[in-house]
């Protein structure tokens, strides 16, 4: 067979056969080796979608970035999107269609499915059920509607373990319609978060962080917002709050009523006393009362520019309270708007219960489960796995041959979103076309293909590309469809598809349910939360996320029973003691982790761990908190018993010490202090020496530098995963993390300040400082770390012999050493993920942040070809690019107009450990807070 060069190259890559449209102008001859292409697509998650630009090297997607035009991304990303590229190449993904453990062809599956569907046709689909996650894909919704029209008795259930049912019900009561609130965080001056981690754990977090952080700089002429947070366990949002009140999740409603009553919200009476159930200490009652009064006054003083947000875990009453407070404060239409939900999910737990009842009653003959993993995530009291057995034919479409697939007759491997044609709506309804970056690695099928197969119509297309295109062709009313389609693919979104805003009508009376005292006020409370890294468990097999230190606890590779020190003392347990958590006769064993700032008498557990069939990475890691979760208490339950078992379990925490020891590492000032005297930041630390016997080195060309704004940083970790993806950073495993050998080039340090009951939380991302007088460079005996003429502290892996002296002498301890061969050199699929512009390091060499030198070189070469200097903003390191808060700014400090140069002239700018005369190129902008004077005086 004769193969020419072009055909050979085509065979080497896995370009999808259909035409996909790159974000930038396509090179004329298609792929140019060494030149990455960017394609716009979108990642569906939690009923929303994050618009992305995906970097593709020779047909391999290697890195995702945010799509600046997409309303949910604004150019930034979260940890899940950053890590999703590893999920694509996960060697544990299921690769074949199986039935009863045997590999079967697609045609055999189609045969079975069609037979079953034919049988259902006669019954009008009475025995047919679909179970999916909440779907916002217009094509899939249309397909499903067509199917249900054909099988009128069939049912479509949507279930997400993190369903926001409480919000939906509360808003239904308050607004009288099925709406979703959209927050205009940027327009709010005073924000009250009622157990709402809206800056991290919300579909719109990336966008909200951008808007929130933009109002945190405290620059003259710019207002700075103020954030109040009530929550049980410190979250990212609580960490950046100006005032955080630690309260049990079940007590938030009482506090919310107190605030609403103080705002004279009609129909809300102040509950009898604000004390929470157990801590009856007068001081704490007084503090809470003062807090409530001050917050109410502050909100009232900011009519139309305040915002009350209720958390997903809160009951409908709190959501209704938040809605009426926003209404009373005149915030509707200004800081909060209501829009149609992007999905059609409705009450998801009720829907799942309906399905389970039908299954139990033997009504279900054919159940098609797409993506959802209900065997793990369904409420424990529904006994899903047991009832699943009563279904005649069970079909599962999933990325992994997991717990649910094991109990199904057929498992069909799903296509990853990076290898799928699909479409998806963002939170506000804006639709994006999901275009594949690569042909399915394992012949995975999309939901569209499965639904088309179910429909079984020979006249309709069955390829996902045709299905999606056809849908949009039908939707398209204007002129040239091809131009419209090209544009949608190129831009990453379909113009003018945002949902309609609903303006709620006049508020009805007594929409907030009457207050009733929780019967079990004194009992220990347990709250269930999605895990900050593995989410609801779907990312459990993603090693980047497993090894990512969780924002507040810095734990990796495990979940834990989080509690306050006082609670732990009362229970007689310490960190890493294994306890048995008993709730309503259900038990799980979990290690204890004490969290400063956690509300007393409460335990927080993260979902998504304790998987048994998730893959090599996740199996047996952590404990399954779903086992305690019931359909009537999806988020908060009381009456938890904690029993000490006497055994211990080691947890791998990346930060063993939490205090700053009086050192000026994270410099903070209140807005008031800073406005009064901007020099306050400089004066908070010792003077930086600048005397030298030698003339300073002159950086005549570029002088790369970075500024990190601690006022903006929320500690969300997106930078850490982005860096890992960009720079081929290996994972090391729990044992090695516990030994202090994690490899992250940028880490987020978290320090506590103040009392352990409710400390101030300070985050500080620490990459390499690229010191001009780098202590690491002088001590290397072989010259493996040197300084470049543009001020980069470089690491030459080939020359490194591994004395580790550089790391010892680094005051910032940002260097990372390959104690073993950490990089996976053998797994084929993981090789495809690697960034070809970055060396994969071997055993025995040191490595560290390079300021993404590959991106600098790319821009420099390009600028040189065009005979100009690199422009400001042309080089964006991976961390800065991913940062939703825009906290990291990189550039050439020789350019007087560069953003980084201006930031370095800012009065908030300071060098970490500058007194050592290292002259770091990475500097920090001090963290400003905006406390309420009324509360600080007390």
């Amino acid at each position: 067979m004769e193969v020419n060069r072009r055909e050979f190259l085509r065979a080497c890559t896995r370009q999808p056969p259909e035409a996909i449209v790159p974000y930038a102008r396509a090179p004329e001859e298609g792929i140019v080796p060494g030149e990455p292409l960017f394609f716009a697509t979108a990642m569906p998650l939690a009923g929303g979608a994050l618009g992305l630009l995906v970097e593709s090297h020779m047909g391999r997607p290697t890195k995702v970035e945010g799509n600046p035009q997409h309303p949910q991304s604004l150019g930034a990303t979260d940890v899940y999107a950053q890590a999703s590229v590893l999920g694509l190449y996960d060697p544990d993904r299921s690769q074949v269609i199986t039935s009863a453990g045997e590999i079967r062809p697609w045609s055999a599956f189609l045969e079975t499915l069609r037979a079953a569907m034919e049988a259902q046709r006669a019954k009008g689909g009475a025995g047919l059920r679909f179970l999916t996650e909440p779907i916002s894909s217009p094509t899939a919704i249309q397909q499903m509607r067509d199917l249900l029209a054909e099988y009128p008795e069939a049912r479509w259930h949507q279930y997400d373990p993190l369903a926001r049912d409480g919000a939906a019900a509360g808003l239904r009561a308050a607004v009288g319609a099925e709406v979703e609130p959209h927050y205009r965080v940027g327009a709010a001056q005073v924000i009250l978060a009622l157990d709402a981690d809206f800056l991290a754990c919300s579909p719109t977090a990336v966008r909200d962080v951008r808007e929130f952080s933009a109002a945190r700089h405290g620059e003259t002429g710019m207002a700075m917002n103020r954030l109040y947070v009530v929550e049980p366990m410190p979250t990212v949002t609580g960490g950046v709050a100006d005032h955080r009140l630690a309260a049990r999740a079940g007590d938030v409603e009482r506090l919310a009523r107190g605030i609403a009553a103080a705002l004279h919200v009609p129909g809300v009476n102040e509950p009898s006393g604000l004390e929470d159930g157990t801590s009856k200490a007068p001081a704490s009652v007084e503090r809470q009362a003062a807090w409530v009064a001050a917050v109410a006054r502050d909100l009232a003083a900011h009519r139309g520019t305040s915002l009350v947000i209720a958390g997903d875990a809160q009951p409908p009453a709190v959501h209704a309270l938040a809605a009426v407070m926003n209404q009373t404060l005149g915030n509707i239409g200004r800081t909060v708007v209501y829009a149609e939900p992007s999905t059609t999910a409705g009450g998801q737990v009720a829907s799942l219960r309906q399905l389970v009842d039908d299954m139990d009653a033997g009504k279900v003959d054919l159940l098609v489960i797409c993506d959802a993993n209900p065997v793990v995530t369904a409420p424990a009291d529904l006994r899903f796995a047991e009832r699943l057995d009563k279904v005649g034919l069970r079909v599962r479409l999933g990325l992994y041959d997991d717990e649910t697939s094991r109990l199904c007759h057929w498992h069909v491997p799903a296509a990853h979103y990076l290898e799928s044609w699909s479409d998806v709506r963002a939170y506000d309804g804006t639709a994006s076309i999901v275009q594949p970056l690569i042909a399915p690695l394992y012949d995975g099928k999309t939901l569209h293909e499965l639904l088309a197969a179910c429909a079984g119509r020979s006249d309709a297309p069955s390829a996902p590309y045709d299905l999606v295109r056809d849908y949009w062709r039908r939707q398209h009313t204007g002129g040239d469809f091809e131009a419209f389609w090209q544009r949608a693919l190129h831009e990453g979104l379909v113009a003018d598809t945002a949902g309609k805003l609903r303006v709620p009508g006049a508020r009805r009376q007594s929409i907030v349910p009457a207050w009733r005292e929780p019967a079990t006020a004194d009992a220990l409370e347990i709250t269930f939360r999605p895990d900050p890294t593995v989410f609801d468990g779907r990312f459990a097999n993603n090693a980047w996320l497993q090894e990512l230190p969780k924002p507040m606890t810095r734990l990796t590779w495990d979940n834990a029973a989080h509690m306050a020190a006082a609670t732990a003392a009362r229970l007689g347990v310490a960190n890493e003691d294994v306890v048995e958590l008993r709730l309503d006769g259900r038990t799980v064993r979990a290690p204890v982790w004490i969290v400063p700032g956690h509300a007393p008498d409460a335990v927080t557990v993260h979902l998504g761990y304790g998987r048994t069939r998730a893959g090599r990475v996740a199996n047996g890691v952590g404990f399954d908190a779903y086992a305690l979760r019931t359909s009537d208490a999806m988020w908060i339950a009381r009456g938890l018993e904690v029993v000490k078992t006497g055994t211990r379990y080691a947890l791998a925490c990346t930060q063993g010490h939490q205090q700053m020891e009086g050192r000026d590492l994270v410099r903070t000032a209140t807005l008031e202090e800073f406005r009064a005297d901007p020099a306050v930041v400089r004066e908070r630390g010792p003077e930086e020496p600048d005397a030298s016997l030698y003339p300073p080195y002159r950086y005549d060309g570029y002088a790369w530098a970075m500024a990190i704004d601690l006022s903006s940083c929320t500690g969300c970790n997106a930078c850490v995963v982005a860096c890992q993806a960009e720079n081929n950073i290996p994972i090391v495993g729990k044992d090695q993390v516990a030994r202090g050998r994690e490899m992250h080039w940028i880490r987020v340090d978290r320090y506590y300040d103040g009392p352990e009951e409710n400390p101030t939380i300070n985050n500080q991302p620490v990459p390499c400082m690229h010191c001009e007088l780098a202590p690491c460079e002088v001590v290397c005996p072989v010259g493996a770390t040197t300084h470049s003429s543009d001020g980069l502290n470089q690491m030459i892996y080939n020359r490194c012999v591994g004395t580790k002296y550089c790391s010892n002498n680094c005051p910032y301890k940002v260097r990372r050493f390959n104690f073993y061969l950490y990089a996976d050199w053998t797994t084929e699929s993981l090789k495809l993920q690697r960034n070809p512009d970055v060396t994969v390091r071997s055993r025995g060499v040191m490595e560290k942040c390079t300021y993404c030198i590959q991106r600098i070189q790319y821009a420099k070469i390009k600028a040189e070809k065009e005979d100009r200097r690199v422009r400001d903003g042309e080089v964006v390191p991976a961390c800065a690019q991913a940062c939703p808060a825009s906290a990291i700014v990189f550039g050439d400090q020789n350019d007087p107009d560069a953003r980084v140069t201006l930031l370095k002239k800012n009065a908030r700018n300071y060098a970490l450990l500058g007194e050592l005369n290292t002259r770091p190129r990475t500097t920090y902008l001090a963290k400003l807070t905006n406390p309420n004077p009324e509360l600080t005086r007390a």
Binding site: Q655, G656, H657, Q658, Q659, M660, E661, G662, R663, L665, Q736, R739, G740, R741, R747, D749, R750, Y751, Q764, V766, P775, V778, V779, C780, P781, V782, G783, R799, C800, V801, G802, T803, K804, Y805, S807, N808, N809, P811, Y812, K813, R815, R816, F817, N818, F819, Y820, L821, R843, G844, V845, M846, L913, L916, T918
Partner: protein, 460 residues
Amino acid sequence: MSLPVIEARRDRRPPIIAPGHTFETVTDRISRVVLRRGTPRGWIVGFALSFSLMMVLFYATAVLLFRGIGVWGINIPVAWGFDIVNFVWWIGIGHAGTLISAILLLLKQEWRTSINRFAEAMTLFAVACAGLYPVLHLGRPWLAYWLFPYPNTMSMWPQFRSPLIWDVFAVSTYLTVSLLFWFVGLIPDFATLRDRSASRVGRATYGMLAMGWRGSAQHWHRYETAYLLLAGLATPLVVSVHTIVSFDFAVSVIPGWHATILPPYFVAGAIYSGFAMVMTLAIPIRKFYGLEDFITMRHLDNMARVMLATGLIVAYGYMMETFMAWYGGNPYESFMVLNRFSGPYWPQYWLLITCNVILPQVLWFKRLRTSIPALFGVSLIVNLGMWLERYIIIVVSLHRDFLPSSWGMYAGTIYDWSMLFGSMGLFLTLLFLFIRYLPMISIFEMRTLVPGAHVEEEAP
């Protein structure tokens, strides 16, 4: 005027060599250890144990090379652990030999003659053990030669500002000079063994090593000149090697390392531990081989005095470190000292103070200075204390430096311990071979100490 007083005092001290010995008995007693037929059972047992321990070292090294230095307990922030602790400890031990041979020779301290050969051998073996670690502690040990300036196609030279490069030169120079000094000192004795050996192999081997020594006046003249020159060359090395080793730490920015007092206090510590090790080895050997006549109480007493003096210098170093941490007003320095006192490694710190400062004070008492068990005990304690000192300096300074977020803990793994005890196996194996095949006391120099050698000198 003062001369007779000194003479008188010297006379009152016990003799360097027990009375009654002649040239013949000295030669016979020492060479018999080497030339006797058959090997003593005790030697075989001791050698077997040492050899087994050395095999532990080889096994641990093989694992290390095969799997990577992750088998050790090191991490970030404590990237140096047992490896460098052991390196500095062995190098320190290696200091006594040259001090005894060179400096005491130039100071005309005749008592050194009984122990110098043996101390020099100990030095060489200790440096050999020490030399393992800088190579093995590398992430890629097979590239250790990159630390030497050699012409290569990469046109790469070492980075001469790094103290590790200074180490390479200091230690390799020290090893070379010590080896030469030892070998030159052995030449007349090789000739003696050649002449007295009954076996052909012995005659041939020792003959070759004796390099044609015939004992002519010209030979002796040249020998004395060479020996003195080498002594002069070796003398600065005693001070320089550990000074440069201390630069590994003093040049850095880490609190607890970054201190100008490190060089003198490292040198004193090295001599301290070196003498302790000579004592630890000399006491059992003189007993086992019946050499009490040659290594007398006077030697042990003198060594104890040197230990006492250097121990006090070391104690002064600890005091000054603490004082400067307070006086310097640097918050990181003062934290470092407090962390030593009361941080997680406080037991190790206070054990170090007990071993190096408190317990050796018993050497002030003559009764204990002349008690063999007491001396043996103190010498072991000082060996332990000096190892702990390096552990405190290296590990405890690193584990909590500037940013509390990066603080960590360190503990040696089974491979760390294997390599520590294994290196002792290597050391003892070499020592056993030395004792068996070479004269452990300088025969010809001892002959100059017998009364017969001084007859002419004392006659008016």
